[in-house]
């Protein structure tokens, strides 16, 4: 089943590889992955959608939490959350359907970000399923090229709110 994982991780070389390595090592295919900085430039947020056997879901999260560079990994699959993805569609179509295309884009809450005699570039943000429909519709009007961002998720459960990641700094004397 598709598992949605949200991670906070240190913004360091190799951090991404460690997380994806846990998945590829188990032969799991990543459906989508996004990473970007959080408010704290030293911390990135990563969202992964990945097909994982149900029995292994907890183990995968635990293994991610064990990674030194991971501050927190959370399974959002069954938690209240909002998921959004952005798509940029470049469409080339005959002159006479320009108006129809614009109308469709409007229905999906889209925005034209570039316009030329040949066609448009349209931007839409929605949940991934809705985006699929939008792309299908656009495809029916002409030739399209598509760039999707991958899903972004944020939990709605207030307890899961993580503005400030836990920071642990050990004095060496405590260590030894």
């Amino acid at each position: 089943m598709m598992q949605v994982i949200s991670l906070l991780l240190e913004n360091k070389p190799g951090a991404l590889m460690r997380v994806t390595g846990l998945l590829s090592q188990r032969g799991y295919n990543i459906e989508s992955l996004t990473v970007a900085r959080t408010l704290d430039p030293e911390v990135s947020r990563m969202t992964i959608a990945v097909e994982v056997e149900t029995a292994q879901r907890q183990q995968v999260i635990k293994q991610m939490n064990k990674l030194i560079n991971v501050l927190q990994a959370t399974d959002l699959t069954e938690l209240p959350s909002v998921m959004r993805e952005l798509v940029l569609v470049r469409i080339r179509m005959p002159q006479e359907t320009r108006q129809a295309v614009l109308k469709e884009a409007e229905i999906f809450g889209g925005r034209v970000v570039d316009s030329s005699t040949e066609g448009f570039v349209i931007e839409v943000t929605a949940d991934p399923e809705k985006l699929g429909e939008f792309i299908d519709v656009m495809g029916s009007y002409g030739e399209i090229e598509v760039a999707r961002s991958g899903a972004l998720v944020i939990a709605l459960d207030p307890k899961k709110l993580k503005l400030q990641p836990p920071v642990l700094t050990k004095k060496l004397e405590e260590v030894y």
């Binding site: 190799g14 939490n65 030194i68 836990p166």
Partner: protein, 572 residues
Amino acid sequence: MSTLMSGAKMLLECLVREGVDCIFGYPGGVTLPFYDVLYDHHVRHVLVRHEENAAFAAEGYARATGKVGVCCATSGPGATNLTTGLVDAMMDSIPIVAITGQVTSKLIGSDAFQEADTFGITRPCTKHNFLVKRIDDLAQAVHEAFYIAASGRPGPVLVDVTKDALQAQGHYQPVTSIHLPGYKVFTEGHTGQIRRAVQMIQESERPLVYAGGGIIAAGAAADLREFVELTDSPAVNTLMGLGGLPSEHPNFISMPGMHGSYAANMAMTNADLLIALGVRFDDRVTGRLAAFAPHAKVIHVDIDPAEIGKNRAPDVPIVGDVKRVLAKINKLLAEDKTAVPAAARRAWWRQIREWKAEHPLQVVTSDTEIKPQHLMAEIDRLSNGQAIVTSDVGQHQMWAAQLIRFAEPRLWLNSGGLGSMGFGLPAAIGAQFARPDKLVFSLVGDGGFQMSIPELATVASYGLPIKIVCMNNGYLGMVRQWQTLFYNDRLSAVELDCFPDAEKLAAAYGFKGKTIDKPWELAPALEEAVKAPGPYLLNVKVSPFECVYPMVPAGGAIHEMVLGPPQPVAVP
């Protein structure tokens, strides 16, 4: 306050501050600056003959002491040669730090001479790894590496340092704090769960302690003993945990699992409570998981949260340092005067004694040939629970685990999780450096020994008084056993028909060696080996076609042991 020095000097300075007194390594182009500062430094560098053995020796050092073992290799082939040892340390949770050289930072990614993506290659082989391209990051990385290796669930950490970072000049600022925001170690254990565990222990009629390598890593042997005595529970030690409870302890009922004792496996299957301490329910212990300990509730104590519930869902999960948790449990048990079901416990012990008597682990001997078990019994007699025994992987390892006693932790050193042939001799080298006072037996098979023959040179050149005992059955015995039992005795690629003359081989390195094949030669030959002041290679030809019993066929339940020949039916 800081001093200007080269990265190489700084690296060594960091190692010294971490208490390192011995580095197992092999030099090369990019590590030249480091070897130059080693030249006139008091830290000892042991030149092994292959980098894989540098990692195994560092493991031997760490396993024998609990201190972090250190190995060092050059870039490219040096680093790739380390990987088996790194994975070995990962599987058995052994704290080692590996230092590797990397090509100059500007050349990374250009297929430079002896460049390999060590950082990428060793990502899954280590608990954590670092790539250091700037001298300013060096000290922090090295100190963090030691901290990560030794704390929590121990493991291998690698620091890959570019040649320019080693050559650069920089200010060494003693590192005063470790900043690892994502590194979580839970040591204390949940108070409520500890209380529940105590209650469950008191109510249990058929408790069994299942203790593993975690006991040894945590230094919890005394706490384990106290626990076992407070509860008067029977106890098993896994392959990684041998010595956790002294083999002579009246409550010890040997090792469980694929080649475990009948009593241990029957106790596992019939217990109503498993007290699992620093173990990971490995498949070699549990056999078919669905049939494992079917009547038992489980209390699982481990420092790694990912081990809890991985293979068996516990009734009482306790994430914590097994030493601290056991101390708390012991304290509660000592205070609490709740009556235990005494009659049921007596019946449980009676049953266990019956199992022990029915099928004890047997020392088979013969008048005409040396039986493998006979060899182990003789090593056991000479060691008397006191010697360090490092083992290679195969049948000899299993017979040794069954039959050699260990009075304390850190005497039995073997490659448990990875099962790496070639481990035994280099591990003995590391152990002997760590414990020069100890008698060290390096028990090897004729297969595994031939993987580590180059290290005879290390043994000789440092004059290490290791007693190498080769159990020579002429076969890759453990594989041969499976072919015999499950592949209609079609022996494919397992015969070792060429083996060097041990006496000549040892002589070529300048020490004593001998081959024996008569049972009456065994005791005197081993005694001579132990008495010899230096290294000794004793090649013991044993009867070739013995199989290790009991044996739980792959995929079988552990109470369905094959106790000996005649041969069982193949299990798919």
